[in-house]
Symmetry: C2
Subunit: 193 residues, 2 copies
Amino acid sequence: MADLTPRAGQNVAAARELVEAGGVEALTMRALAARLGIRAPSLYKHFPDKSAVEAQLITLALTELAETLERAEAGGAPMRCAEGDGGAGERVEGGGLRELGRAYRAYALAHPHLYRLMSAGPLPRGLLPAGVEERAALPLVRLVRGEAAARAVWGLAHGLVMLELDGRFPPGADIDAAWAAGLSAFTPLPATV
Amino acid sequence: MADLTPRAGQNVAAARELVEAGGVEALTMRALAARLGIRAPSLYKHFPDKSAVEAQLITLALTELAETLERAEAGGAPMRCAEGDGGAGERVEGGGLRELGRAYRAYALAHPHLYRLMSAGPLPRGLLPAGVEERAALPLVRLVRGEAAARAVWGLAHGLVMLELDGRFPPGADIDAAWAAGLSAFTPLPATV
DNA sequence: GTCTATAGTGGGATAGAC
DNA sequence: GTCTATCCCACTATAGAC
């Protein structure tokens, strides 16, 4: 959970560079040590094992994603409902969701390997600080009315991102349009069953 | 592409059992050989290398998924528009999409590791027979009007499946409801813009 | 906190005999 | 088509000296 050694922060930064450059498989204790200019066994004075390194990385990525989404939430559509003229109407939800989607996709595309690490396989929840996971989910939950719809939008975003990262769309595919079609399906109305 | 050896079919079946039981990482040339009662080097008389085995497996999974979706397409909603009374109206799309979603999710949950193998990472398209990928996509393309919307629904399904397989939803989450909310968002209208 | 040395495991793949 | 015998690679992790 917390750093086990004062310099562990630098180590995590180095681990991040490895992952961003070559994916999860590029993160080996040997490579991490080499990048730090030390020998692999020395790492075990900083981390109990490799999963601890990965957990720190996942925590970092989840926090960054949360911050990105929070920024989109605040800066995108007119969300400051308390001040100014409160007559925003139905454009608030649509605009907010579009902004959130843009931010989500942008983060994933900017850090594809980190996104994969963060979202592939079950989370090592026991190794993560409390609340990180929830924080990343909050902006969407705040914006979309209803658990079911929020999870659907989450699935939509995650699926589109993964298909794009995995190169599943045909070469000329208009992915922007797919996002627009997907998100706009959720904006007019929750569309009761 | 094609089997390199008469008995390659049996080998692929054995490989499938390994993957279904223990995931992609359980598929090793050694383990596959052991299951076939031979030694690992003998496998290289049937396959040039390991990626060829995986490609056969992916082909098999894509074909099975395609068949599953085609069955749902034919049996679910009243799709036999040519015969009987042609007055189906708007319920055709909604019902068909729901059926398709059900079938897609059911296949993924029944064969989670195979689904992962088939949908994770870029497809080794050069090693796949022509048309397999397209065939799996066709039922959805036929049902959803517009490329963008079809890709969005694809992303929705893939995302929801992956989140479920990866145990990302909270313990008590109503995943059925998330699917219903997601698919129903696409049924009433394409929701222009 | 770092080192050397090493244990232990697993993997893909080849050569050449039969 | 199958075998034996290997090669070479890579990885996580520990022990114990400094």
